[in-house]
Symmetry: C2
Subunit: 208 residues, 2 copies
Amino acid sequence: MTASAVPRQTLTRLPVYARVLDDLVRRGVGTASSVELAAAAGVEPAQLRRDLSHLGSYGKRGVGYDVAELRAHVRGALGVGRRRGVVVVGVGNLGRAVASYAGLVPRGFEVVALVDVDPEVVGTTVAGVEVADLAELSRLVVERDVSLAVLTVPGGAAQDALDAVAASGVRSVLSFAPRALSVPDGVALRSVDVAAELQILSYYLPPA
Amino acid sequence: MTASAVPRQTLTRLPVYARVLDDLVRRGVGTASSVELAAAAGVEPAQLRRDLSHLGSYGKRGVGYDVAELRAHVRGALGVGRRRGVVVVGVGNLGRAVASYAGLVPRGFEVVALVDVDPEVVGTTVAGVEVADLAELSRLVVERDVSLAVLTVPGGAAQDALDAVAASGVRSVLSFAPRALSVPDGVALRSVDVAAELQILSYYLPPA
DNA sequence: GTTTGTGAACCGATTCACAGCA
DNA sequence: TGCTGTGAATCGGTTCACAAAC
């Protein structure tokens, strides 16, 4: 089962499974069935079994899954455990929040560079990292072994930021900008738009 | 075409269309074809036409869509334009970033309440709003007409926060907590997990 | 001629349901 | 017996392709 054979939707659930398995390992649970794992992950058992089948055949019929073994395989598929250098582009409120977010370190993500274009911000230190000018991006990516970028820039600056990040050699980008972005070849982009999420939720509110 | 007939996936694209239409109105464009709109939104023309067809039939064959009219219908479906009170639960770095996020106001979202459990934080003012104790939540929801909640609490506190928010009468919730949450009846929940997004992106990185 | 709106075909993902293995 | 892994059925959503409308 090659890596590229993992369906997109399955891929989005693997981090959830990884978290559930982390919990079970921490609690010393040795074995778990698809029913138990699915309940903890908030999905259907059949879906979880199908998802895991894309990684290989690691369960035992009549028994369930060995928690530690399965965890190793899920982590392996996601590349968890390997250190991943992250650059945060745009050091406003959101950029500072991402840079300070404690949830990244236990997953192997290390914010090793911050860049901005505002001279007021460049030179300041956030979460122990000095903010550099955007012009330094390419150098920092190489020197600090950056493999992921988080864009926390205003919408109007997002396309330029994405292009700059791509030119610097980073191939995986998470954007918080409320914009449809044209994605350079070979770059994987995921987007989060907080206002859009709230608008989607608004749909369900009473129109009154 | 009733409101509940809008498919989930279409719903997630409506905010994108709304933004594109905002731009066109601002630039004084009167009419646009599905090809033009789709290009700006980053989707296929057929998909855009299908999506819009769920809202009604607002295009003119041989001409395209009247930008202002279509915008009004898309906004209407999402309830944009109506003021929406928002409470931010958990005033850490991320909560402060959300409370200060300028992108919410133009979409009609107004952060009118902040709550936390930490006595160090309660009483401070963020983005012009005083942080209240979580115990005040129900009162604030009523007094300030809150219809949406954003959960920016640590993972371990998320389920309790969600339950408290639901008990206070808020029915639409956006969570940033890295947890699978059990959703109370009648509540719409959307989740954003930054570390999970980075893990998904990690999948595409070279394993070396 | 141009472009919408939509049946119909297609596609990927979910769920069912059970054969196969522990 | 109990539970996985997976064919087969199903479902929702996307894309095709064209008749209808302008």
